[in-house]
C-alpha cells in the first residue's frame, strides 16, 4: 500500500507542477516550479499540514521538492524548540544537509566527469 500512495501522491504533485506550466503557456519555467514547490512545501509544513501527507505517502511526499521545503521548515521549528532563536538559523539547513551536500558534490563531479553535448 505504501507503494500505491507513493505513486499516486507523488504523481499528483507533479501534475500540479505541469498545470502551473501549461496553463501559463510556459511563462512559468521549471525554475519557477522548483522555487514554488520548495516555498509552498515549507509554508504548508510550518502549519503542520505536510507531515500527514508524509505519513500517508512516504516517498510520494518526501521526494518532490515540497518535501525538501518540509525538511527545511521542520528543521527550523525543531531548532527553535531545542536552541531558541538560534535554532531558526541552524535548524533548517542542518536537517537538509545530506540532500544539499549530495546535490553539490554529485552535481560537481558529474559536471566534471561528462562531456557537454549539443
Amino acid at each position: 500500500m505504501a507503494f500505491f500512495w507513493a505513486f499516486v501522491i507523488g504523481g499528483a504533485l507533479c501534475v500540479i507542477g505541469q498545470l502551473l506550466m501549461d496553463l501559463t503557456s510556459y511563462k512559468f519555467t521549471s525554475a519557477h516550479v522548483l522555487v514554488t514547490f520548495v516555498t509552498a512545501g515549507a509554508i504548508i509544513s510550518a502549519f503542520g499540514l505536510y507531515q500527514p501527507l508524509v505519513k500517508l505517502a512516504g516517498a510520494g511526499a518526501t521526494v518532490p521538492l515540497t518535501g525538501f521545503g518540509h525538511l527545511l521548515a521542520q528543521g527550523a521549528l525543531n531548532g527553535v524548540k531545542e536552541n531558541g532563536i538560534l535554532g531558526a538559523f541552524s535548524g533548517g539547513v542542518t536537517a537538509a544537509a545530506a540532500g544539499i551536500t549530495a546535490a553539490v558534490v554529485f552535481g560537481y563531479l558529474a559536471a566534471l566527469a561528462f562531456k557537454p553535448r549539443g
Partner: protein, 151 residues
C-alpha cells in the same frame, strides 16, 4: 477612400489559421505523463526508502540516504544525456522530484564548463539551485522566527 488592404473576412481567416497552427500545450496528455513519470520516480524513492529502513536506519537517516541516492542517479543520468529524455517525456514529472533539482544543477554546470571550474561549473551549478535554496531557507527561517515569538 481607398479600400483596406486586408479585408475583415481575410483577417478572420488568418486568425483562424493561426489559432489552428499555433502549438498548444496538450494539457490532458501532459498531465497524464507527468503523473506517470513523477509517480514512478517517487515509487523508486519508496523502494530505496524501504530498503534503507530494512538495513536498520532511522526514519531521518533513511530519508537522507534516499534523497542522496536519487540525486546521485539523476546527476549520473544527466551526464549521460539520458535525463533529458525523462523530462521530455514526463514534463513536470521529471522536474518536481528531487531528481529534477539535481538535473537542473548538472545541466547548467555542464553547459558552461568551458568557462572554467570556478565561474563555469562552480557558479552555474547554482543557476537554479541558488534560487531554490534562497527561497527554501528563507521561508524556513521565517517559520522558525514566527514560531519562536508566537508559539
Amino acid at each position: 477612400m481607398s479600400e483596406a488592404i486586408v479585408s475583415e473576412k481575410q483577417r478572420k481567416e488568418y486568425a483562424a489559421i493561426v489559432s489552428r497552427v499555433k502549438p498548444k500545450p496538450r494539457v490532458w496528455r501532459n498531465m497524464f505523463w507527468a503523473f506517470v513519470v513523477g509517480g514512478l520516480i517517487c515509487l523508486i524513492g519508496q523502494v530505496f526508502y524501504n530498503y534503507f529502513l530494512s538495513l536498520g536506519l532511522s526514519l531521518n537517516q533513511a530519508g537522507a540516504a534516499t534523497s542522496s541516492s536519487l540525486v546521485f542517479i539523476a546527476a549520473f543520468l544527466t551526464g549521460l544525456g539520458l535525463y533529458d529524455e525523462v523530462s521530455r517525456f514526463g514534463g513536470a514529472g521529471g522536474i518536481v522530484p528531487i531528481t529534477g533539482f539535481a538535473n537542473s544543477m548538472v545541466a547548467s554546470a555542464l553547459e558552461y564548463r568551458a568557462e572554467g571550474l570556478i565561474f563555469g561549473v562552480g557558479a552555474r551549478l547554482f543557476t537554479i539551485a541558488g534560487p531554490v535554496l534562497v527561497w527554501g531557507i528563507t521561508t524556513a527561517w521565517v517559520a522558525g522566527i514566527l514560531y519562536y515569538f508566537f508559539r
